[in-house]
């Protein structure tokens, strides 16, 4: 047990919260799932499937925030295009789910998805091949964002595009992809994207049990990725990454090829975003080019900023809080939401540069000296 705690909390100061956080996250997940599956619908503690799906969506966003934080909070690379990796992962999953429909589409065509029949396509484009195998689609969900991140990162980091330039380039990247996926000729369903999914691995997507399972898998994967990321970032690799963030040229002068570190971290982050996207799609039931829109990518950054960048827990909490607020706000005052979101951007950057976690750390720091004084007295 001590070894376990040790493993979780290796090294860094934020590490000591890892185990409790994971325990809370998984417990909550289990409780919510059980409340949905085993309690009667009229029980006061019943958690509706709607809520489960909503929570599942939040957790996907949390995973995405984790990805953004790894690259921004720890390495100082502000990516305004993480939505692209998320969406690509989502499309891979969407393509698999689309193939699962088989001949149950409206045209009953066993070979082609509906939108292709609709646009009079004769055969499946090459990039759809293999997508009817779950393992292959999932491989693509991580490989495609990974490769894109690798190529982009390799080009950008090697030629030392940094700071705001890089941010703008990532934004251009996701914008270019947005335009591309809008095109119907691309073979991804154009503006409508992919939808009307029926089942995943043979399980009915509309069944409560499937939804709960997806939710639980999301929570579990989030926990795993969280712990693994925490480990990676507290290894010497993580120290190098921090060193790059704070003084990149210094790191180079002591012999680290910083571009390689950045590329691999970028790829890792993109892969996490891809996984988040792949989990997102079966839960919300649609993937379309809107996910590539630059605004979405910027919104992700604000989740991390609100929660506190440079702390993985902060990113997760930020994503969940902001999205919960969004759900509530847009229901009560749809017009006020954009004001609130805008103000959040300004206020957090001005007054809370370290986010809620920074605030929490400050509060703890204040309380501690007070305590020690008390004990001395």
């Amino acid at each position: 047990m001590t070894r376990l705690t040790e493993w979780f909390s290796a090294g860094r100061s934020s590490g000591k919260h890892t185990l409790p956080f994971v325990v809370i996250l998984l417990t909550m997940t289990l409780l919510a799932s059980a409340a949905n599956l085993f309690l009667p619908a009229d029980s006061a503690l019943y958690v509706s499937t709607y809520t489960i799906t909503l929570l599942g969506k939040y957790l996907c966003y949390a995973m995405l925030a984790l990805a953004v934080d790894i690259i921004w909070g720890y390495c100082g690379i502000l990516s305004l295009g993480h939505g692209a990796f998320f969406a690509l992962g989502g499309y891979a999953m969407g393509m698999y789910l689309m193939r699962q429909i088989g001949d149950r589409g409206v045209y009953g065509n066993p070979l082609l998805p509906d939108f292709m029949v609709f646009l009079d396509w004769k055969e499946l484009p090459w990039f759809w091949l293999g997508m009817d195998h779950f393992w292959f689609a999932m491989l693509m969900a991580v490989v495609v964002p990974g490769i894109l991140a690798f190529v982009f990162g390799w080009l950008a980091f090697r030629s030392r595009v940094t700071g705001v330039y890089l941010s703008i380039m990532t934004q251009a990247l996701t914008y270019a992809l947005l335009l591309a996926f809008f095109r119907n000729e691309m073979g991804f369903g154009g503006n409508n994207g992919l939808t009307d999914f029926k089942e995943i691995l043979g399980f009915d997507l509309q069944a409560d049990s499937t939804r709960v399972s997806l939710f639980m898998i999301t929570a579990l994967l989030l926990a795993v990725l969280f712990v693994v990321s925490q480990r990676i970032l507290s290894s010497r690799f993580g120290k190098v990454v921090l060193a790059i963030r704070d003084a990149e040229s210094r790191s180079r002068f002591i012999g680290y090829r910083t571009d390689r570190y950045k590329v691999w971290l970028f790829v890792y982050s993109a892969v996490i975003a891809g996984i988040a996207g792949a989990l997102y799609v079966p839960q919300v039931g649609i993937i379309n080019p809107g996910e590539f829109s630059p605004i979405n990518s910027i919104e992700m950054v604000i989740w991390v900023a609100v929660g506190g960048r440079g702390t993985l827990i902060g990113a997760i909490i930020g994503a969940i809080l902001v999205n919960y607020a969004k759900t509530r706000f847009t229901a009560i005052m749809p017009d006020a939401w954009l004001f609130a979101l805008g103000a959040m951007f300004v206020l957090v950057t001005l007054y809370l540069p370290k986010g809620l976690m920074g605030l929490y750390a400050q509060m703890m720091a204040k309380r501690r000296p007070a305590k020690t004084q008390e004990s001395e007295a």
């Binding site: 502000l78 595009v161 941010s167 380039m169 990247l173 914008y175 954009l338 805008g342 103000a343």
Partner: protein
């Protein structure tokens, strides 16, 4: 034949008509018929009117063509609606005398549709063949080119020898040649001469005539026609190239306007202003408000809107700088996020104040239409003006930065802040002014863009990514780079578009820039030296 009669009337009875029209009794019955008629039955009535009235009916036709013909409900008499200094007035169609005390409720519109408009234009053209102004005569001949019948040709033939104006005569000659070339009963040699003459014209109707001749039975005619077509196509292609170049320059000027303010705030100050697009939007809305305040002087509104937009956006810029950006100095990524928040707030603000609907910004009359150089090449005036305007703004900005003390201070601060501060430059003041200047110029860009696109809350969003691309591509901190980048991207897009389509062209240009920046991270014209690090 009836047209001929009508025109003979015009020719020989010009003087008598004014008297005749003033008396205005015989056509009254026809005019009353017009009031009650259904759209389908109106053409014959108009034909009768044209035949009996000749040129005297022109005012009525013109008003009807413009959709401004009304009748007074009480007595069914016809009036035209005119706009005099913002007031709607109704005048008698023929005498141009204002009919007093009429309001919108007392009159009802006489509707027209496309069929009628087509007829009217043709009829007006026929009548106008004898108009006093040579321009009118020329446009009348050109209008008639597409519908040459025996009557028209006879008329033109009759007018041709006495025509004094060279251009009109040329156009008439063209009409006659077109007719000659297609007349099968003519001797082939005459037809060949006619075709020869046609080959020098770029008129679309000429091309269509020649294309029809390709099916002629006489092989010599077919050969001549195909040669003429070839000739025309070659010349037309040259002009098409110029046309495309102009499209590119025009797009480039829009990009230049949108990005030039950013070139200052981003390039000189190093501030990433994601709310830049909203500064453009504010400028566009200022134009809207200015037009709202002075609805009767739309033609002059632009001149008021330009300084107003500069002030509004500039002040907003100063405000943003003082309240937010100042506190984030040296933290470009944070500035990016904060200004993005500001852009959301500004968008929503505009949505709350002006509604999410697009607003109407009218185009001043001097900016509408196009400058027709020849039948295949015409440059639209609004884009021409905007191109000139963009260059003007650019030059003004260069002068401000190079020649004024503000410019000197700005350059000093951008090169070495602490040194400038030590030298007594009020860096705070310079920052605010620079940001205000950049924002103000974005506001001016908004005035220009309001003439081209929708004025709505999302206006700025549409340009922000493009403007960043232009500035980064041109090289940050280099105004000339921005100019070159804007025009080269504009032209590249427009030359790609015909083969790839608009979307793919945009994607190709974006990907090109992304790759280019990897190769040359500092853009086309990088700043060199240690200061740039």
């Amino acid at each position: 034949m009836r047209h001929l009669i009508a025109l003979c009337c015009c020719l020989f009875g010009l003087l008598s008509f004014s008297v005749y029209a003033a008396e205005s009794s015989p056509q009254d019955s026809l005019l009353t018929e017009l009031v009650g008629a259904k759209l389908k039955n109106m053409t014959p009535i108009l034909e009768k009117l044209a035949n009996t009235q000749g040129e005297a009916i022109l005012p009525l036709f013109r008003i009807l063509l413009g959709g401004d013909l009304y009748y007074i409900k009480a007595d069914k008499s016809l009036v035209g609606q005119f706009d005099e200094q913002g007031n709607t007035v109704y005048k008698d169609v023929f005498s141009q005398v204002v009919v007093p005390n009429l309001s919108k409720k007392d009159v009802k519109k006489i509707r027209v549709n496309n069929t009628l408009r087509g007829y009217l234009r043709n009829a007006i053209a026929q009548i106008q063949l004898t108009a006093k102004s040579p321009e009118l005569r020329q446009s009348a001949v050109r209008e008639l080119l597409s519908k040459l019948d025996k009557d028209t040709i006879n008329l033109i033939e009759a007018l041709y020898p006495n025509e004094a104006n060279k251009k009109v005569k040329e156009a008439m000659g063209l009409a006659l040649s077109m007719y000659a070339a297609t007349s099968i009963d003519l001797v082939p040699s005459n037809r060949l001469v006619a075709i020869e003459r046609l080959s020098t014209s770029l008129e679309g109707d000429v091309r269509n005539t020649l294309t029809k001749l390709m099916k002629d039975e006489n092989p010599a005619i077919v050969k001549a026609a195909s040669e003429a077509l070839e000739n025309i196509a070659q010349r037309a292609n040259r002009f098409a190239f110029i046309d495309q170049l102009f499209f590119g320059l025009s797009l480039g000027s829009v990009l230049l306007l949108a990005s030039i303010g950013l070139a200052i705030t981003f390039g000189v100050m190093g501030v990433i202003n994601m709310a830049h697009g909203e500064m453009i939007m504010l400028g566009a809305y200022t134009t809207y408000v200015v037009q709202l305040i002075m609805p009767n002087y739309i033609d002059y509104s632009i001149w008021v809107a330009i300084p107003a937009a500069f002030l509004v956006s500039g002040l907003m810029g100063v405000l943003i700088e003082r309240l937010v950006i100042r506190h984030l100095h040296g933290r470009p990524l944070e500035t990016l996020l904060a200004t993005f928040g500001i852009s959301l707030i500004l968008q929503q603000l505009v949505r709350t104040i002006f509604s999410p609907l697009n607003r109407q910004v009218s185009t001043p009359s001097w900016m509408s239409g196009s400058w027709e150089i020849n039948p295949v090449l015409s440059l639209t005036l609004n884009r021409l003006y905007i191109l000139a305007f963009a260059l003007l703004v650019f030059i003004a900005l260069v002068i401000i930065l190079k020649k004024t003390s503000l410019g000197l201070n700005v350059r000093a601060v951008s090169q070495n802040r602490s040194m400038a501060k030590a030298m007594g430059v009020k860096t705070n003041w310079v920052d605010a002014m620079t940001f205000g200047l950049g924002s103000g110029i974005a506001g001016i860009a908004g005035v220009a863009l309001s003439q081209l696109t929708n004025v709505g809350p999302n206006l700025g969003q549409a340009y922000i990514i493009d403007s960043f691309m232009v500035v980064v591509f041109g090289g940050v901190g280099n105004l000339l780079g921005t100019l070159v980048a804007a025009f080269s991207l504009g032209i590249a897009t427009k030359f790609l578009e015909p083969t790839t389509g608009a979307v793919l062209a945009a994607i190709i240009v974006l990907v090109f820039i992304i790759l280019f920046i990897q190769k040359r991270p500092k853009g086309l014209f990088p700043q060199k030296g240690r200061a740039a690090e």
